[in-house]
């Protein structure tokens, strides 16, 4: 008889960080297949580059910080960051762009703050914002989605563009790439065209497809399905995505009802761009989100508000990354003022 000594409690529900992270990756699969279908090989190259750079830089940083490689390397958090970055960055982004984004995310935004659990800013969003501001031109290298114009380039063409920076013969970068629906809409609205005109335009009207953009409807819907599965599995808290989506719908509806021609509808906002990817995968990052129940609702709503502001009046087409980082700053304040009422106390704050 061994008589082992241990600390109470002696039971656990056997959840662990690795299984949580892997479930997030599984939930991303449907949406990424749609991404690949509509935007081609570039998505795959992004994934390969991002995953290898993220894991390698994580291993190097752990060594540099004298930490054991296990269990940190296999906990899946670097893998999730890599996947999110790869899916958010444009498919034809050069290999060095993806690399720089991943390095900033893992080395600076995660390990220099102390590693998993200690970073205040969402690492994927930090990487995204750094390349967005530093290389604005490369960040517009989206291909036309399958079914619009010539669709996405073939394997060899994509390879030479991403890794070699060379465009195929007789083409220029402008002919290969095409702006996303969100980007197009924003540019044209700023030129005082109204939405119906834009959607019917000869050059880029077909980009918008039936609803919110060819391809984007599928991609966002599949991300949403993955996200719902994650909520059902108990991996993410439903408050954050619900608060985000509901707030976004309410705000965009408010403006769209007032002036339909200059403000996109709620449907457009929820099913275009990175909305669903953000709602269920990016803003639900537990380390950087708020931790109290009420705080999480305010956090999600805040991100939605800032996203809408940047999308409509700001300088960048998709403002989710900035919105997330801004709300990350507010998290300690939110946590402090939304502490739940302890059993036995009367209603008192902080």
């Amino acid at each position: 008889m061994l008589f082992s000594k241990a600390d109470a409690p002696y039971l656990s529900n056997n959840s662990n960080v690795q299984s949580l992270m892997l479930k997030v990756v599984y939930a991303l699969v449907p949406g990424s297949i749609a991404m690949f279908w509509f935007f081609g090989w570039g998505v795959l190259f992004n994934l390969v580059i991002a995953i290898s750079v993220c894991l390698a830089s994580e291993a190097i940083m752990l060594k540099a910080r004298s930490r054991p490689l296990e269990p940190a390397l296999s906990d899946g958090s670097a893998l999730v960051t890599a996947c999110l970055l790869a899916l958010a960055l444009p498919p034809l982004a050069p290999w060095w762009l993806t690399t720089i984004a991943c390095l900033f995310a893992i080395v600076i935004a995660k390990h220099l703050y102390g590693g998993l659990g200690f970073n205040p800013f969402n690492p994927a969003m930090v990487g995204y914002v750094v390349v967005m501001i530093s290389f604005p031109r490369e960040m517009t290298y989206w291909t036309p989605p399958m079914g619009v114009a010539e669709g996405w380039p073939g394997l060899m063409d994509t390879f030479s563009l991403v890794f070699g920076g060379t465009v195929p013969e007789g083409q220029s970068i402008d002919t290969i790439t095409m702006a996303t629906p969100i980007d197009t809409l924003k540019t044209q609205i700023n030129l005082e065209h109204d939405i119906d005109y834009i959607r019917a335009h000869r050059d880029y009207g077909e980009l918008f497809g039936n609803v919110t953009g060819v391809g984007w409807e599928w991609i966002n819907s599949l991300y949403m399905l993955g996200g719902i599965w994650l909520i059902w599995q108990g991996v993410i808290d439903k408050r954050i995505p619900l608060a985000f989506l509901i707030s976004l719908i309410l705000i965009s509806n408010l403006f769209a009802v007032v002036d339909y021609s200059s403000y996109s509808s709620a449907l457009f906002h929820t099913l275009s761009g990175g909305t669903m990817l953000a709602a269920f995968f990016i803003i639900t990052d537990p380390v950087t989100a708020s931790t109290t129940p009420r705080g999480r609702i305010i956090y999600g709503a805040g991100i939605a508000a800032i996203t809408y502001i940047i999308r409509t009046w700001g300088g960048y087409p998709d403002g989710i990354a900035f919105a997330v980082l801004l709300m990350n700053i507010a998290v300690p304040l939110l946590d402090h003022y939304t502490r739940p009422r302890t059993y036995g106390t009367t209603d008192e704050d902080s």
Partner: protein, 186 residues
């Protein structure tokens, strides 16, 4: 140019008057920070900080003549508390003044050897030794602070250190291991 100089001079004079008035009007009597510092010190009165007791050390800190990391019995807890109180940065214990003891200690007298010379009684800063000349001396263990000041004066070396063992009333839960990336102090 002259206008600027004159204006700035007037503004400076005004602020000077304001500050001077405040210094007089809002002066605080006494030196409460010394009491606050003294309240944080462990009262071992051992002198390892190079001052003659905890109160003189507290006064020296208040005057700025001593650093906050000179107290081994207080250890890290006291350094951090003092840093919080005085709004300065916490630093590690200054090794010149001794090392933090691993556990509380008290002393005891070997009664077979004691010669009743009262030298230890005179040395004890909290009067924790019972005895008189030519009579047996005994340590009042509950009052002993573990300062060890009685050990050097004893001419027959009959005072020994022993650790304070935890009792059913004073035991503590053990500290959890901390994992591979635990939060660290400081």
């Amino acid at each position: 140019m002259m206008v600027v100089i004159i204006t700035l001079a007037i503004v400076a004079a005004l602020f000077g008057l304001l500050l001077g008035y405040s210094a007089i009007r809002f002066r605080v009597e006494g030196d409460p920070v010394v009491d606050q510092i003294d309240a944080l010190l462990p009262q071992t009165q051992c002198g390892q900080c190079t001052f003659a007791g905890c109160r003189p050390y507290a006064e020296a800190i208040a005057k700025g003549e001593a650093d906050i990391n000179q107290c081994p019995p207080g250890g890290e807890t006291v350094i951090i508390a003092l840093a919080d109180l005085l709004d300065v940065e916490a630093k590690p214990l200054n090794a010149e003044h001794g090392e933090e003891k691993k556990s509380q200690t008290v002393v005891y007298i070997d009664e077979d050897t004691c010669i009743g010379c009262t030298l230890c009684i005179q040395a004890c800063p909290v009067d924790a030794i019972l005895g008189a000349a030519k009579h047996m001396h005994s340590i009042i263990e509950s009052e002993c602070t573990g300062c060890d000041l009685c050990i050097p004066p004893c001419p027959v070396d009959c005072i020994h250190i022993k650790p304070v063992m935890p009792t059913l009333r004073s035991w503590k839960w053990h500290q959890p291991e901390g994992g591979y990336a635990a939060p660290r102090v400081g």
